[in-house]
Structure formats: C-alpha cells, structure tokens
C-alpha cells in the first residue's frame, strides 16, 4: 500500500513540508508542488531535510512550478522532476493521496 503526499506550501514559511516528511511512512511518495518546490533546491535551509528524507521516501517536484519560479537549474540531486502528466501518473499509481494544506 503506497501513499502519495502532495505538499504546496513553502518550507520556509509553513511547517507542512516538515510535518509531511516526519509523518510519511517508509516507501511513500512525496510530490512537491507550487511554493513547496523551493524546499528541493540547492542551498535552501530546507534542502538538508529533503536530502535526509530521500533515504526512506521518493521525492518528486513539479517541473512547471520549478520553471515558473526560476528554480529548475537548482533542483537537488535525487529529486525527480515530473510534468502534469507525471503528476497524474503518480496519483494513479498510488492507492491513496494526501494533500497537506
């Protein structure tokens, strides 16, 4: 049973990325969208938490949101970038989906 966690808030403004990483169980998939994509960029104070979480979780970030924020070239190694089609695939591949608002 796998769960897709979707987070859309900036990790440097809200604690939803942090809470998600703490509470997502091993093997879960985390998709960062909208302002949450900043957490998956090099040099951010949130980057270390994402890097540590990659031991147990698969981390994805939405490409169009990275592009819109000028952050595409700064994505952390190991974070998989998907487009909207990939977003739909992740929803379809996982049994349940949790949005962290």
């Amino acid at each position: 049973m796998s769960m897709l966690h979707i987070v859309n808030k900036s990790a440097t403004e809200r604690n939803s990325v942090e809470s998600c990483l703490r509470l997502a169980s091993k093997g879960s998939v985390v998709l960062l969208i909208e302002d949450a994509v900043y957490a998956a960029t090099q040099g951010s104070v949130a980057a270390a938490k994402i890097q540590a979480a990659m031991a147990d979780l698969q981390i994805y970030a939405l490409g169009p949101d990275l592009d819109a924020r000028g952050m595409s070239a700064r994505v952390l190694d190991g974070v998989k970038v998907v487009d909207y089609g990939g977003f739909v695939d992740l929803v379809a591949e996982n049994n349940t989906c949790q949005s962290w608002l």
């Binding site: 808030k9 403004e13 900043y38 951010s44 490409g63 169009p64 949101d65 819109a68 924020r69 000028g70």
Partner: protein, 132 residues
C-alpha cells in the same frame, strides 16, 4: 483625483516615508503580485517609497522565471519597470537571501543588501510600513 494630484504637486502634500515589506514567494499566493500593484499605484503620490524583500519575498526577484507552464503572468519582469516609476530603493535582507542559497547575482534587479540590524534601523525610521 487629478485635482488632488495637482494639490500635492503644488507643495501642499506631505511626503512620508513608506516601506513595503515583501515576505511571500511569487505565484503560490497572490500577495506578491498584489503588493507590487500597490507599490506601482503608490508611485503616483510622489512619496518616499522603499521596498524590502525578506524571508520568501527574496524569491520574487529570481532571474529566469518561465511561467508558461503554470499559465500565469511573469511579473518578475515588472520589478525592472520600478526604476521608471522612480522607485529606486530596493533592499534585500542578507540572512533571508543566504538561507535560500541565493546571491545578488541571482536577482533580476539591482538591490542593496542589508544585514538584519541595518534593516531594523531602516524599518524604524519609516512613517508607514505595509507588510505582506
């Protein structure tokens, strides 16, 4: 409104120190765009305007945004028009920039980088501070 503008230009208006503090990332919420509109409108009143970018607000100034994929306006380019509106005092808090792995070279406009104590002093000397 034009009468009022003339009155102000005639010297009856008072020039106050306005500071707009930007603390939100662009696109995810409407604050950054709406805040920028407020600043552009405020320019019509010939006030002493400063803009501060702190916390996630620094993200508003990143070079190389491409918003086609999310189908919204790329208003990062509008910051480059501020100069034409005589808004030239742009400040970025150093700690906020560094916490995001960013440097001045990553920003779309020329800014003055201040440390937190300098920013606090600048904030303290304002007549009006509007923060979002």
């Amino acid at each position: 409104m034009s009468d009022m503008m003339e009155d102000m230009e005639g010297g009856e208006g008072v020039v106050k120190k306005f500071m707009f503090v930007n603390r939100k990332a662009p696109h995810g919420t409407i604050y950054a765009l709406e805040g920028l509109e407020v600043v552009l409108i405020s320019a019509a009143f010939d006030q002493d305007v400063s803009m501060v970018f702190a916390d996630d607000g620094v993200y508003e100034l990143i070079k190389g945004m491409n918003t086609k994929g999310i189908e919204v306006k790329d208003f990062s380019r509008t910051y480059r028009a501020l100069d034409g509106y005589d808004i030239e005092k742009l400040y970025v808090e150093k700690a906020s920039m560094e916490a995001r792995g960013l440097t001045e070279d990553d920003l779309i406009v020329d800014v003055t980088v201040l440390d937190s104590a300098e920013m606090a002093n600048l904030m303290a000397e304002q007549d009006i501070v509007i923060s979002y």
